[in-house]
Symmetry: C2
Subunit: 333 residues, 2 copies
DNA sequence: GTGAAAGCGCTAACAG
DNA sequence: CTGTTAGCGCTTTCAC
């Protein structure tokens, strides 16, 4: 690879001038600039970004730390981040943690070592990892899950409100015993969505029955198992609110296997849309999250934070939207 | 951030010794090593990877250049790449080209500038971009689409064979007029899958009717439009082979909108599985590709190529698997 | 407007 | 086994 010195020699100028031309800085005599550009072309010169990064002590990479890119929620979110990053001249390094705090820690270390320009993280572990970044003054945006004890920019959806709408919709459709499968205890989104479910029941004068509340793992299997357990109850539920997309899929699979007709004998609403929720028969009612926008907003926030490190942190809460389809429409007798 | 000199001073050794301890190179007196480790801990020292990369003139980043991470085919593939990368100590930079050769070119430039350790690319453009990488001696693995004129490691699936199996299955299910919606003319996978379709028809004594062959854009909309056009024919087809996942979705949507029962009046087989193909009613018959393995194999190949740059390039072809579900099961009269 | 020169933080010869 | 030293390739003062 040709270096800046090779170009300088060929154009008969100093490396400093080449640098100025390459970066469009300062004024350079047009004739010289032309010579430099010729030399660059002839040598197929590409500035070495690693050297530049070292010298400037900053990079153009963001780390995006999420649990699993295979989950369509994150797929779309990451796409939003990447588009936003590209607009601001950054690239995105993808980090899947599989909800493993140790892996998360490694990626945080890597982000620190690589002098990443910023980090967007949906935290799996405690606030300590986010704090490590913040302490090192690395710009951070927390996404999807709020982190107590960390004072950083955050982008969320209104989980409680979404769950409230979903549950209310089931009540108003005439379902009587509405179950909820939420995520692991202690996970922010699981807690908030459960809270929305409870609030909806209470406000409609239906005390929440604890045997109808289950904790799953936010994966297909957890949804399947929870649904199976609910079907084993003496007093079966007649509707389910599942608090994420994969558990909704698992629950529906269980219902198909058990030959329980949806929505007639079991109404179903999921949190978070599925890419082909409308193709599934019956099509699935879901609380749609603005996943792409979540990513875009996080990217915008990170760009701002980088430009203005001292700005006080803010939290952005985006609205969800209840997407009513067939799985929650109880036929009136 | 503490530098290696800060640690050296605190541990009263030379920076070289700190470097040796940090990298586990050479033998260092245990007592010294202990002092160094203490100092590193006390100063919360993290080696600056940018400086290291410059000095070693190599990095631990791979660029993964694909058209769109939102397409579940790439989602899973990227996940495979990332897992493979992590095992070998690399991280993955995600690059979405949206099939735009210009964007692809920019990402290739970036990969060059950032001195990426390697590139995995599903090429949208001509071979020139791949050749730029190869010329700069950057290890490259081409994935999913073979590139004529580029002499590089390649990981493919047997597209023709998959299409052949899909079409044969439709023929054997009793469908008579089998249409094909393939991708853009000139795209490798589109061409190969079309060829498999044609071969299956010919081998079963059914000359391929050209009006039943359509070119789409590999997106939902293209599938919808192609299906709509096929439905407008005087002699309608009674089955469809769609050559990618999104076009299959689009075609099914069109069939739903047109109230054409599947599989009774229209058999459907798609190429490339959908995450919830089994939940769609009727469940979709598809040619499943080993997407995750594709990514894993590409990662393995890239790791080998990095270790052994002079090894002659090889092409790996993975098998597809026909996943027979309900959408292609014609009820016998 | 241009060039000389000093590093960014680290590693790897090379001496000792 | 340890320290000294010379860069990796670039940018950015600081003189001129």
């Amino acid at each position: 690879m040709a270096t800046i010195y090779d170009v300088a020699r060929r154009a008969e100028v100093s490396p400093a001038t080449v640098s100025r031309v390459a970066n469009g800085h300062a004024n350079v005599d047009p004739a010289l600039a032309e010579r430099v550009r010729d030399a660059m072309r002839e040598l197929a010169y590409r500035p070495n970004a690693v050297a530049r990064n070292l010298r400037r002590s900053r990079t153009t990479l963001w780390a995006v730390i999420i649990s699993d890119i295979s989950n369509p929620f994150y797929t779309s979110l990451v796409r939003g981040v990447e588009d936003g990053a590209q607009r601001s001249g950054y690239s995105v390094v993808l980090c899947n943690t599989d909800e493993d705090p140790a892996k998360e820690g490694q990626y945080v270390d890597a982000a620190l070592a690589e002098q990443m320009a910023g980090v967007i993280i949906s935290p799996a572990g405690k606030a300590q990892h986010v704090n490590r970044l913040a302490d090192a003054r690395v710009p951070v945006v927390v996404i999807d899950r709020q982190q107590g004890g960390a004072h950083v920019d955050t982008v969320l959806v209104d989980n409680e409100q979404g769950a409230y709408l979903a549950t209310t919709h089931l009540i108003e459709s005439g379902y009587r015993r509405i179950a909820c499968v939420t995520g692991p205890a202690g996970v922010f989104t699981a807690t908030r969505r459960l809270r929305g479910y409870r609030r909806a029941l209470e406000e409609h004068g239906r005390p929440c029955e604890e045997e109808l509340v289950r904790h799953g793992d936010f994966r297909e299997e957890g949804g399947y198992r929870a649904m199976a357990a609910l079907l084993g109850l003496r007093l079966r539920p007649d509707a389910l609110f599942a608090t994420n997309n994969l558990m909704t899929v698992g629950a529906v699979e269980c219902l198909v296997d058990s030959r329980i007709p949806v929505p007639d004998e079991m109404g179903v609403v999921g949190f978070d849309d599925l890419p082909w929720a409308h193709l599934v028969r019956p099509s699935l009612t879901t609380v749609a999250q603005p996943t792409y926008e979540l990513g875009r907003e996080a990217a915008a926030l990170l760009t701002q934070r980088i430009a203005e490190p001292e700005r006080p942190p803010m939290t952005l809460t985006l609205e969800t939207k209840l997407q009513i389809r067939d799985s929650s429409l109880r036929p009136r007798p």
